[in-house]
């Protein structure tokens, strides 16, 4: 039994479950005080995403976004670079992919890849900037990325309002993308899959982005753990002085880390416009990019765990939304429960620290016993 718990993978899963479990419990206690039907409300929260097919779809779509922003953050954090720039990259990725989807007169087979590539390119550039500033001018990445986020959002709003929005539109939103600029369903529209295809397309917007995300996870994992670049990234993350001493070009690597993180952020933006919204809307990112931080921290910045934590976290978010719609819980209370979950989940150090304390205590006690032995002996003399 002891062996089972000392297995790092088991401990990891246990840690995540305990964090989420405690948050849920606390949330339930709050619900008890507030709701007239706490059981019903909480049931909606916990089982919500499986109660209707479109809800299931919402959950998966959101998890795709969360995975991409999570990867974006995880790659930077793994190198010990506290980039907050995912939001800006996401916004510009959404903008650029949307523009291509709207205006470039190409067939879908060319327009969609082009839109994705352009989004990735702009994410790369927007990530490169804070990387360069940090590497060569020692600019704090938290400040520079946050500033760049604001710039990106303003560019987005400006172009949307003054150029992209159709003149007759009542509010700030682009025209609906043509089918050539919309991501197709993840199930091919062939006779064999006909029934299931209509089922999914009717109720959900799960697109081929699902496959792209799977690929993105694998690429990120290889990049971080298998390639020479990943080695450099990890060494910089664990001890940048050692990396420099060992001959690693820390500046170049640092810049690339930021840029690659940007590619993932921008892909999330492309998913949101071309996959979910099918138009360019204002406030597209809301807080999605920052949710990426939670997903990444929960996954310990390991790209392989990111989709799992994204699914888990996405489930909680979807459930909370459903609870809001189907019970007497107010939006504010749900926000509090969500915040609690975030708090518990990000308090990742709690468990390891407690464990360390216990071990230290034990060690001290055994030391005391040892040192007290000779004293005991001398008494007998």
């Amino acid at each position: 039994m002891k062996k089972f718990f000392s297995n790092p993978a088991v401990r990891e899963v246990l840690r995540i479950f305990i964090a989420i479990g405690s948050a849920l419990l606390l949330g339930f206690i709050i619900t008890l005080f507030i709701s007239k039907d706490p059981i019903g409300a909480y049931k909606a929260f916990l089982t919500g995403p499986f109660t209707k097919f479109n809800r299931f779809g919402d959950w998966i779509e959101e998890s795709i976004t969360l995975t991409l922003v999570g990867l974006s953050v995880a790659i930077a954090f793994k190198a010990n670079m506290f980039s907050m720039g995912t939001q800006g990259q996401l916004v510009l990725g959404a903008l650029v992919s949307g523009v291509v989807a709207l205006y470039v007169p190409l067939p879908a087979t060319l327009r969609i890849p082009l839109a994705l590539i352009c989004a990735m390119a702009v994410g790369f550039i927007w990530g490169w900037i804070p990387g360069y500033l940090k590497a060569h001018l020692n600019a704090n990445e938290i400040v520079s990325t946050l500033m760049l986020n604001t710039i990106a959002i303003k560019i987005y709003d400006y172009l949307l309002v003054f150029y992209i929005k159709p003149e007759d539109a009542g509010y700030n939103v682009s025209a609906i993308f043509p089918p050539e600029g919309t991501l197709p369903s993840f199930i091919p529209n062939v006779p064999f899959f006909n029934n299931i295809y209509t089922l999914f397309t009717k109720n959900t917007d799960i697109t081929i982005m699902l496959y792209i995300v799977i690929l993105a996870v694998i690429v990120a994992y290889y990049l971080v753990f298998k390639t020479p670049f990943g080695y450099k990234l990890r060494m910089i993350g664990s001890n940048i002085k050692f990396a420099r001493y060992g001959g690693i070009d820390t500046k170049k690597t640092m810049i690339l880390v930021f840029a690659i993180s940007g590619v993932y952020g921008a892909l999330a933006g492309a998913h949101m416009t071309m996959g979910i919204q099918h138009s360019i809307i204002t406030n597209i990112s809301i807080s999605m990019a920052f949710e990426g931080i939670i997903v990444a921290i929960l996954a310990r910045n390991n790209p392989l765990y990111v989709p799992l934590t994204a699914l888990a976290y996405g489930y909680l978010r979807a459930g909370a939304n459903i609870m809001e719609r189907s019970s007497d819980m107010s939006r504010e209370m749900i926000a509090i429960i969500q915040a609690l979950i975030i708090l518990f989940v990000t308090a990742e150090q709690i468990l390891p620290t407690v464990q360390k304390r216990i071990e230290e205590r034990k060690e001290q006690n055994s030391n005391k016993e040892e040192s007290s032995l000779p004293d005991g002996g001398s008494h007998e003399l």
Binding site: Y222, K226, T227, P228, R234, M235, N239, K241, F242, D249
Partner: protein
Amino acid sequence: MASLVEMRNIVKIYSNGVVANNGVDFQIEKGEIHAIVGENGAGKTTLMKILYGSEQPTSGEILINGESVVFKSPLDAMKKGVGMVHQNFMQVPSFTAAENVVLGHEPSKGIGLDKKKAIEATKELSEQYGLYVEPTAITESINVGMRQRIEILKILYLGVEILIFDEPTAVLTPQETKDLFKAVRVLIEKGKTIVFITHKLREVTEISDRVTVMRNGKIMGTLKTADATREGLARMMVGREVFLDIHKKPVKRGQKVMSVKDLSFVSETGHTMLRDLSFNLYASEILGVAGVEGNGQTELVEVLTGLREPASGSAVVDEKIVTGKTPREVRQAGVAHIPEDRLSNGLSVSASIDDNLIVDRFFKPPFKKGLVIDQQVVENNGKELIKEFGILTPSGELPVSSLSGGNMQKVVVAREFSSNPKILIAAQPTRGIDVGATEFIRDQLVKKRTDGTAVLLISADLSEVMSLSDRIITMFEGEITGVFPDASKVGEEELGCYMLGVKRQTAEEMEALL
């Protein structure tokens, strides 16, 4: 009459087995300035930490005014009138000077700090002892000298009688040092007693009444400063047995492999740390650099290995200048480097042993295969080196942090030695590690040299330099003060005089030997 402080038979053994103090008897008389000198690691600071209560002795007794005391913490010591002026200031940078002076013992007004009282108290103390500080100045914005005075006032505020200064001049400019000495004299006039830890002999003769010399955790003697000469003190400080168990085959030194010419380095703070250094390295030779730490050795190594850029001058390997190049370029020129601080530079402790062993080679085949790093090759490389260098670990996949200090250093040594360097720069290769690992690493260094590598050995451990080196240079204040072409023919006292700047060879004398 009993001494003010008497420490009897103090023994301190750290949990890692290092014996810092080995049966020390030490007395302080009231109203004196008592200097403690010794090399780094001689046990001066440990002894004073015991007196100040921040370390507990393994055995031994402390008497103050003839009364036996036990200090569990610095607070206990302060209650008995003992305070320490730390080398690293214990201050809150964003607080005012006055706030820092009263920190921890604030005069209060309700639940808040009585700022007025704090400022008054600071002013009063400041005037009483001639230690000028501006009570309302923000600490981070004032100079080091004033920050040190805050540190002194802080313990005076608590009413201490005995002030321990731990290498107080290390961070000061010459002018600030003068001011400090003036202040120290005022403190004595006011009836305080002062202990002064240093390794600068000039300061000892200038300020102290008595001086105690420590070496290897023991007291070598206490004498009146008036009776001491700098040569005599140097001799007492550094004299040490030479290891007999090093088997060094005589080897004829080979070709010149590196030449350093007029190398200078200026630190970010504007201090000239290296002044026109010139010397050559030859194959099959260990060139030892002897010197008290902080005389430019660290900077010399960092400039030679590409971690810092020189202000002027150069080092040349194979007709190629290697100074001002990146660490990778320097490594590719055949220079390996055992850094003096293995934890911050030489290793990534949270990464695996295997990963630590490939930092200089992961980008080359066979480690790089196609787009990825071949994990099998990395693992085998780890296995081989762990076996060859006797690194005690069940697996190379474990993080370096799971190893003991000696085994951590073996990881560094394994990596640097296995790169088959032409030149090996080893800085403090055996610092803080156990006897077994020390012996192993010394043997390996000699073996490398016998196999034809040029070794530059920098060590604060003079006996290490003397027993391993073929040729020795001494460094003092960023300059080479002497060259000794045959290490076996020079005595430690002689070296000590050159290391401490008491003696100095002329440029002409040295030229032919460098």
